[in-house]
């Protein structure tokens, strides 16, 4: 085998991988969810509501009460929480709880997508069923990203990452950290990382305010800002990340550990190897 052939063979594997990555990456870039935004329709089909009611009776009413009027434990009434709350708590696996005393933390969803949509349909229909005229926020629609970095005047329905960054650092970074890595509030309330949340969930959390997060109602935060934040959080899952390993974007604490233990550690070892003990 000639040298040229050998180097061709040596390079074929890595180059192939790179080419594959480029192809997959560009396909993903073109068809990624961010380009489209996200919207979920709540079913009002009676059969879905009926199926949801059965699921509710099996899994929820022990705590939340028959027709969601609230239980004797700390379980809140669900009559007028709205579809967004139901969808958020179920798709993020926060509900149902194993034990009523547990904290509602992110988990694998207990129900599959169909069951969730049926339960959401039922919770959405609860005001009608119980004759209450109060209802909570419905599942928000996240607007798509503009094709350009600046807002497109001809397309008022789209949002930019720049709007998202501004609204995020003003409203969210104080608890969720500038890169969405999560943080902690006092009294043991965990502020989760946002790296697993999809756009709909972010929009729902903004509108619903899952405890201890405050509610950002449309009067305080426009749909445009809500969509921009949801898009920016999506962006933060895989941000433009030059400069090497991101070490969770946790900032100076993680960097200090690396510098002292790894960087200075190597140098101390080198000094020990060069010097003597005498």
């Amino acid at each position: 085998m000639t040298a040229a052939a050998r180097s061709r063979r040596l390079l074929a594997g890595p180059l192939g991988l790179v080419a594959l990555a480029v192809v997959v990456g560009s396909v993903f870039f073109v068809t990624g969810t961010q380009a489209h935004g996200q919207s979920n329709v709540v079913s009002t089909n009676p059969s879905d509501i009926l199926a949801g009611q059965q699921l509710f009776q099996e899994h929820c009413q022990a705590c939340h009460g028959y027709e969601g009027e609230g239980g004797q434990t700390s379980a809140p009434p669900l009559v007028s929480v709205g579809a967004a709350a139901a969808d958020f708590y179920l798709t993020t696996g926060r509900m149902p709880l194993n034990n009523p005393g547990n904290e509602a933390a992110r988990h694998h969803p207990f129900f599959d997508a169909t069951q969730i949509s049926q339960l959401v349909a039922y919770v959405n229909a609860l005001p009608t069923i119980t004759g209450t005229n109060q209802t909570g926020p419905t599942i928000p629609t996240v607007a798509p990203l503009c094709p350009t970095a600046t807002p497109d005047p001809s397309d008022p329905g789209c949002v930019t990452l720049s709007e998202g960054l501004q609204a995020f650092s003003l409203n969210c970074a104080a608890c969720h950290q500038a890169a969405g890595s999560g943080g902690i509030l006092s009294k043991g309330n965990v502020v989760p990382s946002l790296h697993n949340s999809n756009m709909t969930q972010v929009g729902e959390a903004i509108r619903v305010g899952p405890k201890p997060m405050p509610v950002f109602a449309p009067s305080q935060m426009s749909d445009q800002q809500m969509s921009a934040i949801a898009q920016y959080v999506q962006y933060l899952h895989h941000p433009a990340d030059p400069g090497g390993l991101g070490i969770s974007h946790f900032g100076p604490v993680a960097e200090g550990f690396v510098a002292v233990l790894f960087g200075f550690g190597i140098l101390l070892f080198a000094a020990r190897m060069i010097g003597t003990r005498g």
Binding site: A174, A178, I184, G243, V253, G256, G263, F264, I266, I274
Partner: protein, 522 residues
Amino acid sequence: MSTTEERAAEQKRYAAGKSVLDTVDERFGSSRFLTSVLDKIFPDHWSFMVGEIAMDSLIILIITGIYLALFYVPSSTDVIYAPTSGHVYAPLVGQHMTEAYQSVINLSFNVRAGLIMRQAHHWAALVFLAAVLFHLCRVFFTGAFRKPREVNWIIGVTLWLVVILEGFTGYSLPDDLLSGTGLRVIYSIVEGLPLVGTWIVYDFWGGSYPGTTFLTRLFVIHEFIFPLLIVGLLTAHLMILWHQKHSDFPGPGKTETNIRGSRVWPQYALKAGGLFMIVTGTIFLLAGEIQINPVWLYGPYNPYTVSIGAQPDWYLGWLDGSVRLWPHWEFASFGHEIPNPVFPGILIPGLLFTTIYAWPWLDKKIYSDYGAHNLLDRPRDKPFRTGVGVAAIVFFADLTIACGSDILANDFHVGFERVIEVLQYGALLGPVVGFVIAYKACQALQRTGAHPIQRPLGGVIIRSANGAYHTLSDHHGNGHGDNGHGDNGHGDKADAVANGHGTAEEAPAPVGAADEPAGASD
């Protein structure tokens, strides 16, 4: 196999080289100086090289810093990010920011090698301070600060302080979210100083926070004042070291008036040069492989925004931790409230640094030892001093951990309040526990045995066919005495000294010897 022509050519080359050196020597008389410099002896113990790691990091900081200064714009002028060429960071397009932040973004994305230089600069700063602290601890635990080296201790501690401030000013220059938050904290701590606080911050910031002049001033401080101070102090530090000679651990053949080790040329120069390359390599490895301070994710600083996880760099963590751990006590004097952050932010560091500065004189009092020492203490032989040092390390570590209390609480799923409470007790009890353990450990070590270097030499002696003697402990395998440079002052030092080939340099006598002693004995 050299022919006549080759020999002639070599003689010619030799003559040419000699004439160049003679020309220099006749004019500058430098050969005597060079000889004394190149024959200078430095001891070989590995811990003495950590100060060099700090110096090497400083060199990298200066070189990368010059590169960064070419592209950084120290201006608080408000601009709107709208680049027309090069790489555009989309999430910032159309946002208001200072020109300084914009220049850092451009430096990171559009300047060739800009990002790796910025990351190397930042990593080098973090490694620099680790080396400075290790060096400080080494000097403390071995009693190297004792007479005649008290002044160098003062200079060293001042260097540490200036380097911390230099690091903090650098952290504040990019004007991203973290920079601004850090400056806001410092502004408030200084502003809280009774009587003078508001005047000081108004003078420094040229008005109320954040102002429009401060970044320019900060740049001058970071770029000229502190670097000049650091280089000046370091020069004094090294000149004093050169004059006083390096201290060394006690060992066979080592006395208060001699130094054993390697000559500057060639051994020590090669070791130090190699270490410099390793430091450079390690720092650029970090710079190339691990991201540090992604300012584009933090976004530009606005006084009304903040992010959790906003900590200072690790070397200033203890100050942040001190503020976090201090209880919410309120004091008033003469009817004026003294703001709470003044106590943990200024009083505690003030007390700590005063103690550190005064330690050489406290140490004299504690041990009633006012004499000069060129031989170091082993830490175990001075249990009280070692205990105090360990207590200080535990205290600093506790405060540094407190700086990351929010991240600790998040990662270990422990309530934030509980973490603070534990660390508050830790700051009070930890040093006491550390002192007792260190004290007892020193006593136990004193009882159980000697340092390996003090083990008697030899054991098995072998006589070779031509009558030479070897000991089996002579594991260095050097030639004996056929060349003075081969002696590295260890296993075969007794042998070498006996043959008159040891590299021993006279150090000044403990009391009042002023004349520069002769160089190496061969």
